[in-house]
């Protein structure tokens, strides 16, 4: 194991309550706090823990997006990534495009492992890791809650609907991570200072030979249907009466 690539997405911070624009053209993003996608933070943490256990592993954080996505890559460097690459574009990046850009980087970097979050909390697509594994023609282990690396292999416990499943994949492989894999570290001020000196390369989709195709046109963005607020009952017998009257018990 020599190199781990971690894919990072700049997203609206998970604490922000997202609102839809009145003209249905999208969600309001002006002045909204942006952060590293929380699942990607877990992905990076896992890469760093593997690096800290082993000898001489390089962790490369990569992202695709606007120039300001350098901020999230700086966060990744402050957490402990060795260097970063931004594929800079102002275009809306669909999962398939992202997968092709990451594939181009994987061909250049030849990592032993690629970590991603299982999904980004903006588009909730849950596609990029699987698509990347497909076009890279390598194994995928999605929804990881435990990762063990041994010679040339990864033993991955996956969170599936029925419980937990364990698979073994040959490296190189793509691993997408779930919530309970680890708890990401806090970044300390000296690390933020140090991160400023770490290399951050900026490239483009063109330079990688990837086109940002639009496969899914977004026609409109609307708020979800709201549920009506119901009644408050005063005690358990009243609750039971309500449920009986509704035919629920």
């Amino acid at each position: 194991m020599q190199k781990i690539m971690v894919c990072i997405k700049r997203v609206v911070d998970y604490n922000v309550r997202v609102r839809v624009k009145p003209d249905a053209s999208g969600v309001m993003l002006d002045g909204v706090k942006m952060s590293v996608n929380p699942f990607d933070e877990i992905a990076l943490e896992e890469a760093l823990r593997i690096k800290e256990r082993g000898a001489n592993i390089e962790v490369v954080a990569v992202s695709i997006g606007v120039a300001d996505a350098q901020q999230q890559l700086r966060t990744a460097l402050a957490m402990g990534a060795d260097r970063a690459i931004l594929v800079q574009t102002d275009a809306a990046v669909e999962p398939l495009t992202a997968a092709h850009a990451f594939l181009a980087l994987a061909k250049k970097e030849t990592p032993d492992l690629i970590f991603l979050g299982k999904q980004a909390i903006d588009d909730d697509a849950n596609q990029t890791g699987q698509m990347l594994a497909a076009i890279w023609d390598r194994p995928q282990a999605t929804y990881a809650s435990k990762v063990e690396i041994s010679a040339g292999k990864a033993n991955v416990t996956r969170e599936v609907d029925a419980g937990l499943e364990t698979i073994e994949v040959d490296l190189p492989a793509v691993i997408t991570v779930d919530l309970r894999l680890n708890e990401p570290r806090y970044v300390k001020l000296p690390d933020i200072m140090k991160a400023k000196k770490k290399p951050l390369e900026v490239t483009s989709l063109d330079a990688l030979g990837v086109s940002a195709g639009v496969h899914l046109k977004v026609l409109k963005t609307e708020p979800p249907a709201q549920r009506q607020k119901g009644v408050i009952v005063k005690d358990v017998p009243e609750l039971v009466a309500f449920l009986k009257q509704k035919g629920l018990i």
Partner: protein
Amino acid sequence: MHKILIVGEHDGKTLNPATAKCVTCATGIADAQISIALFGEDTSAVASQAAALSGVESVLRVDRPENAHPLAAILAPQLVALAADYTHVFGPSTSFGKDLMPRVAGLLGVAQVSDLMAVEGAYRYRRPIYAGNAIVTVESDPSRKLLATVRVASFQAAATGGNASIESKALNVALPTHTRYLGAKSGSTDRPDLQTASRVVSGGRALGSAENFKLLFSLADKLGAAVGASRAAVDAGYAPNEMQVGQTGKIISPEMYMAIGISGAIQHLTGIKDARTIVAINKDGEAPIFEVADVGLVGDLFQIMPELERLIGT
């Protein structure tokens, strides 16, 4: 004519109800001709269940030893081979479908609509983004194959009574050997399955311990309900991960959802907002769960749970 292939989910014995919900979704497309693909070691039992779903024309069985466990890397190239004759390929938005479908989309070089929640046309759909805080309407290019995962909470299961043809497919597809199944651990119980139960009782961090979850289990058993948990309760170790309800856990649509000691974080509400009736029990009358609940009771849940259990069925 739209030819729609649905990937059936099963455990070798029983067809997962998510499949019947995908069928309902597909029947919402005009001029749809629907087939179900089944991958397994021996899919004879599940094939007859799939063939009985109303609206399905054919069931395609792909039986081979490598398909004993649903590994995306193994199934994807086979599904690509089957998909050649179809305009649409749908799978359920379960951990099985979410793992498999994007790998197929990647191999085909086409887009995927994740968590399809409403059909507005053969190539126009609605899906949630930002944990359900916004709903987008998306349109894809009709000249290309479309892949989708179907948000099962948004659709009722298709009725039975159909009589589809069943066909065994021998696919000449080379399979990778880089991915191997080692085993599974399930917290399986005699209780109803959380994803498909008509009644669900869920507990939050306010339960305070795994031990106290037993009160919840006892109440659930009295109701014949499945048991769920909030992410906070799972993170605190009170309940196993497969019980988690919410955006990052299971998205469910039971007839009755009873949230006990759950404050109602947005990511939790996303997982339950298709429930027919939401019942909230919480000591904090200001908890956001009461904003979406059809009926709420404010009070000490450790007094309420046993009393409720006692009064149910009297």
